[in-house]
């Protein structure tokens, strides 16, 4: 039986869809069978981020309305073995789907896949309840800024109430330079506030915009810091023990500068 993991954040624009695309692909590159599910009905994007937009014929809505079989609605990613996408309907809205219907889809997908990653829409309303309905676990994405962290805390509370466990945190768009000069909270600050398990830190990577432009998830071209970070998270998801990478800049000059400018 596969694991159903909801990828969520509360706040929009922190990298849920990019993370779902990259983690799904990364897990497939690690020889796992993966289904990524876009739960953002009406505002779908996982298809275009993954470069599969031209191949979508059916959506989860068609499956729910029994217009087609679930297996027929899944789009296979031809670049890697074992990766499938279930797109969201673009012409419906979030209220057209019931949480139980999403759960039924996830439960079916987990019989044929090692991992089912559900890309949740932003917000705490119906779209979020639908996305998390079938999940056993959650990955919460945040960026190190006040609004994203506050919303992440709210989402974590809702996930805890729904008895979804474990809840793992990904800190996205982390900038070692900004942390070094004291304008960005570091991972300890974020963990001190949110108090959940950290599964990875993804550094700010200009490669992300290029990869989204092309529809080729970053992890296909390893070597970039972002791709490596997603690969590490995927490995941790499969149970490998890999220490959290320390992005903070070290060196004598930095230490001297940090000593004079360090925070209380």
């Amino acid at each position: 039986m596969g694991r159903v993991i909801v990828v969520t954040s509360g706040k929009g624009g922190v990298g849920k869809t990019t993370s779902t695309a990259n983690l799904g692909t990364a897990l497939a590159l690690l020889d796992k069978t993966v289904a990524v599910v876009d739960a953002d009905v009406g505002l779908r994007n996982l298809d275009i981020v993954m470069g599969l937009e031209s191949r979508i014929v059916y959506t989860s809505m068609d499956v729910i309305e029994k217009q087609c079989e679930l297996s027929k609605a899944l789009v296979r990613d031809r670049r890697v073995d074992g990766l499938m996408l279930l797109a969201a309907s673009q012409k419906n809205n979030k209220d057209d789907i019931q949480p139980e219907q999403m759960k039924a889809i996830c439960d079916k997908l987990r019989t044929t896949h090692d991992f089912v990653l559900v890309d949740s829409p932003a917000g705490i309303e119906r779209g979020f309840s639908n996305a998390s309905a079938g999940a056993d676990e959650a990955i919460v994405i945040t960026t190190p800024d006040v609004s994203a962290i506050r919303d992440a805390d709210r989402i974590i509370g809702l996930l805890q109430n729904a008895r979804i466990e474990p809840i793992n945190l990904v800190i996205n768009r982390f900038s070692p330079q900004l942390v070094g000069n004291g304008s960005m909270m570091d991972q300890d600050d974020v963990l001190d506030i949110l108090n959940i398990e950290l599964i990875g830190v993804v550094p700010e990577d200009s490669g992300v915009i290029n990869s989204t432009n092309r529809g080729i998830p970053l992890v296909y071209e390893d070597g970039s810091p972002g791709a490596q970070a997603y690969m590490r998270i995927a490995r941790r998801l499969t149970g490998q023990r890999i220490p959290i990478h320390n992005f903070e800049q070290k060196g004598l000059l930095n230490n001297i500068v940090n000593w004079f400018t360090r925070k209380k």
């Binding site: 800024d145 006040v146 962290i149 506050r150 805390d153 709210r154 509370g157 942390v179 004291g182 304008s183 960005m184 909270m185 570091d186 600050d189 001190d192 506030i193 004079f260 400018t261 360090r262 925070k263 209380k264």
Partner: protein
Amino acid sequence: MNLSIRQLFGRKPKSSSIAKQRLKLVITQDRFDVDDRVMTRLHHELAEVLAKYFEFSANSVKMDLKQEGNSYILVADFPYTKFHETNMRQ
């Protein structure tokens, strides 16, 4: 000591520490901010239990959340008029 050296170099407190401080405060508030409907339900349920032992008029009951330092306190006032002694012996 640290502060004075930093002042000597003309440094303001780092914006990341200000962010952390403000977040901690606001998140504590968010976490303890109880939904009005939940408070009403709690009010009814408490009244139901207490009514087995005490007699009180429903409109004299007051419930409130108070903040004291870092912790929150639920204060409930149920001014009663009579104690049902029979229940005591059960």
